[in-house]
Symmetry: none
Subunit: 305 residues, 5 copies
């Protein structure tokens, strides 16, 4: 039976067909956070994005693609996201065990450009034959190649929705227009969330914003309008606002492995700021499975509380 | 977590892509019989097949398409099957609440031919945009128009599977080649199950067979090979055998409204004969909802025992 | 501003995209009945269906295609429906003056078969380039050619909805399976409404039902379930019920020119039975325009009251 | 009933099919200026173009996509224009409440090139399924990337018109060929209006021109021919002239938030110069809704007078 | 290493692309007869063609689709042919264990017409995704529906070869033009082999011919030219001659279960007449597996000698 909160969230997607809404409901009604309107998703694209040893050497069982299906399932995540190969290597063995997201573009760092452009590495048809509930796509606002990414996303999102799949967008500002610090600046992250939502994303993923402000024109507005920069929960709330006033599912990533205490504090801030949840990659699969499940449980407890 | 029995059943579908297996798993893991390897499905195509008053006048709330979504959900059925209009009238309001089957062909009796040919009334794309887990298709072995149905099914099944949807086939012998009694004759029903499975059906639905034998050549074999005609559970077992030795999900329909006692005895025979379950239409929606839920609960208890 | 009733009706179409809902809203919010949830539509396909003289000789200005655009507009109808030629001959001159329905199939009586099969005479693309809000399609349940019509409708409806157009279905039982009296029998009309709705029609049009019951199996049910056959409003209510319990817009046609008194009494019965409105063709354009407007005004007054 | 002026304007579009004319009529016959031949349109693409905080922080309710549908509707605007995400987030809830324009390309300023190239972020199919009356497209004459934009527009406009949608072009000179002052120079704005009209735009939007003249060759002609540079209404009249002598709907944008007095004076000048109207974005949604409605009312009063 | 005989046979197919030749080589180089230029193939389509009990009741393990993969593999057959469902139910479990033939059309006898027309029940795409080496197709020369079969075969064969699959044609004269005895008449069987070869079959399968001559015009020629009617090996040689003088692989079926002695004598005659081999269905799977393997071994010994 659907909870009031899940029904409310699905109501934000009234323009989508029942297929998209069904798949959004699958994420919202799966795992330990089922029905709460909160989500914790396991993403494992680092093997492609950063290379296998940087991703898995610290916890060698994670080299095995089955490991991640089981980690996501056993931890009670709402979904699992990965590139084509990882999903092909397990979708048949774990059919319907949790909602899957096929990441349709990926970028490696054997050549790491200042203005990166990911390659399209899968298709909507792949997502359908693998039984996925959604497709995922990364855009890099701030890159000189961003138009091409936006246009690829426009075509993929239209095809995905027509076939009833939800669309998840990783919106990660990067590129020659931005300082390193600027990639997680509050104004830039908020802008990145807005762009993803305007491009038709059903679920948006951004990095947690810092209190830095990157763009001079934006800085003026933030100061004039007295947009709160502290604490973190206020920044989360601002990014939520920037993502259609909370009418699009917005989740935050924790980035590289860090102290659990810091991570859990971030989760508390996301919850306090009204965020929908977290996407926890390296912080979960780069430690032994029991530890990862313990950490994910603590995160889910915070969201469920 | 997937039960051993569900995993075993999914193993029968190793040639299907993970999408099809995911959707089969959705049926097997939903509702009160989740994980048991048994299924009870609610089909409501009688409004089209027999007309609205013959279908719903005895229980007027059933005129409302929402009624059936709620009946199937509240009774804990594994799935709900209906034609395009009924699904369009509720799929957006009950997204992901239970696995749906879009029946892609239908036949009305304003003109009731000796050799009936249903009309194709929906498409694989409709099933995808409505968030269905499967498409359904009826064939009438014994009708002079059967080749056309088989070929329509061949094309629809290929397209459905390519998009990760499961294929459910209603295999109902009818037509000028068969006597009325022959439509449910053991040899004919077993043959109909075989044909559906050979056509690539993932789930096969047939009527419960009588002890009658229709075809002279078949009768000889049944006598020579001493195929048991009694009790009903033996006939169920024979039809299971004829459906790839139980390696395809085979469910039985109860037909028109009958005494509950008789219906429950049939269910016991299906269970004893190793059948996968029942599709219960008129016997459930042609009585008040509480009574229907009571009956369906008793049926599920038998299967779960 | 949308009335509560219009919002309620549009809610029945939650599975449709915003384009279809926009065009349904156009009908519901246009003309003298705007906002009431009732509709009076002018259809003029009789020139094709019955021939020009039988249609227009009694009121010669009606030979002119502009006449009907103006009649529908000036009378405050919710919409105007006609075949390709009539719309092409006026759509450019009356752009956006009222919602148009392009009738995509038509049948002439130069050859009047027992089992008629209309020809497809226009396309969804025609409807779009002519600025229509909907396409119309006629089916003849009871005709041996009905499967072909259902399948044509299935394809046309899918294409129309994908392009944001609403789908109006004329469901007129005819053919060798039915007696002349049976074409308007209560059981048959209710069945025809159900079939159109199951095929995905957004708006269904049927003839007013008589108290006759045509099919023996249906007659039994009507008697057992004590479905009221009198007065006319009870029959209207039964057909509404049969059309997804009123969750699809269902309108009634008045047929050939008759006494105004009788016609207005019929309208009162439609209103009392909860019907959505009327489609008034020959009764309006086969009399002088001022008289037609007077009659249509009186009809609209009844619906608005 | 269509006014003489609207009929006259529609007459300028005799080469377009009735669908395009119907949708143009929808804009001309909607809202407080219905029938006057004048238009005030609400555009909200700044969330994408300038970022959310710069757009909405000053009036936080404007973060919510529903806000703009209601502002445009309640103020009696002729239409509302926005990118895909904003329309998807409301089209289903406000079906048919006012004519919508889907902006099919957008540009963000996380990277702000000297020669900007917007990304295509939506499609004609999106516009149809969302129930839009028009598509919008931005070109930057003066950018080295302009040919690509013109060619994208050519294809999109052809497809849109074939499907009965009107085409609105934002023609904003920008790029390495122009000085900052030159972007609003009279000769440049007039040229930009001409280019948009030549590319087949049905509605053209430009910025209000200054009295500056950018291009030397043009300056000579303006001086020789004594084209009036003052007052503003004369410049408006010249741009109208340059836009097919007023035979294309041409509206002007007000740019960033400014003093109401100055804005209203501009509107008076547009009216005096024969302009069709205004597109008022930031000046309306960057203030509290009641104030915005007051301002828009005063603007509409000027146009209606 | 390829034998000289296999190389010679493959040389007959020089016009086929390397893909088709590769798949023909797979049959010729697989199993106990690998390299001999002889073939014994297991076909199991009787479940569809005659019904499950008539096919499998005498040896119940044969109801299980896996049984046949294992029988064909363990007996050392050159290939295994079956309809879609049987291959789907095992292709994933026995990948590459022996060359597979997907039978693309099938006929059931729930309705057994005088002029039968099989239904197309699979596609070239199905054969590719199931890893088959060939497609199979049945034609009934002598049936009034034969043109339709020939045309279906033409399209399927072209598509199959384009994708590198070999084409196997079952050419079984049947229909209102032939007496029962005529179906296996020497002139008719020879003619059927010729038709299949002319239609582009790579492998032709016919029934063993009797000494009967069916067609008066043919009989005259047979008598004039003194074509030998006895012994059986002479008839085999004549059919080989009629099948492009042995330049197409031609194999013979044994029909219903008969005495082993008779069957082995037939095999000897096929060998003596220069035939390529046998297709042994019911005679193998309608007895216990060890017995079947014994029989198939004796047959292969004859061919290998």
């Amino acid at each position: 039976m659907m909870t009031k909160r899940v029904r409310e969230i699905l109501g934000y997607y009234d323009s989508e067909n029942p297929g998209v809404r069904t798949n959004l409901a699958r994420f919202l009604n799966h795992g330990r956070l089922a029905g709460t309107g909160r989500l914790v998703i396991l993403p494992v694209d680092q093997g492609f994005e950063h290379g296998p040893a940087r991703s898995f050497a610290v916890n060698p069982p994670a080299y095995n693609p089955h490991y991640h299906f089981e980690l996501a399932r056993d931890a009670g995540c709402n979904g699992y996201a990965a590139p084509l190969g990882f999903l092909e290597a397990g979708a048949a063995e774990y059919p319907g065990e949790l909602p899957l997201i096929l990441k349709l573009n990926n970028h490696d760092v054997l050549l790491d450009e200042r203005d990166p452009m990911p390659a399209v590495t899968g298709s909507v048809k792949d997502a359908l034959r693998l039984g996925c509930a959604a497709v995922g796509f990364t855009i890099y606002p701030g890159s000189t190649a961003r138009q091409q990414m936006y246009q690829q996303l426009q075509e993929i999102a239209a095809e995905a929705k027509e076939h009833g799949l939800a669309v998840v967008v990783w919106s990660y500002p990067r590129g020659s227009a931005l300082s390193k610090e600027g990639e997680t600046a509050l104004d830039v992250v908020a802008y990145a969330a807005q762009i993803a939502a305007q491009l038709g994303a059903n679920i948006v993923k951004v990095k947690l914003p810092s209190a830095h402000l990157e763009q001079p024109e934006a800085r003026k507005v933030y100061e004039t309008a007295r947009v709160a920069l502290e604490p973190l929960s206020a920044r989360v709330a601002h990014v939520m606002q920037s993502c259609f006033d909370g009418r699009r599912i917005l989740i935050f990533s924790g980035g590289a492995k860090e102290e659990d205490k810091a991570l859990l504090d971030e989760v508390k801030a996301i919850r306090a700021g009204g965020g929908y949840g977290s996407i926890i990659g390296r912080n979960s699969f780069q430690r032994p499975k029991p530890d990862a499940i313990t950490l994910l449980s603590r995160i889910m407890e915070i969201y469920a509380s």
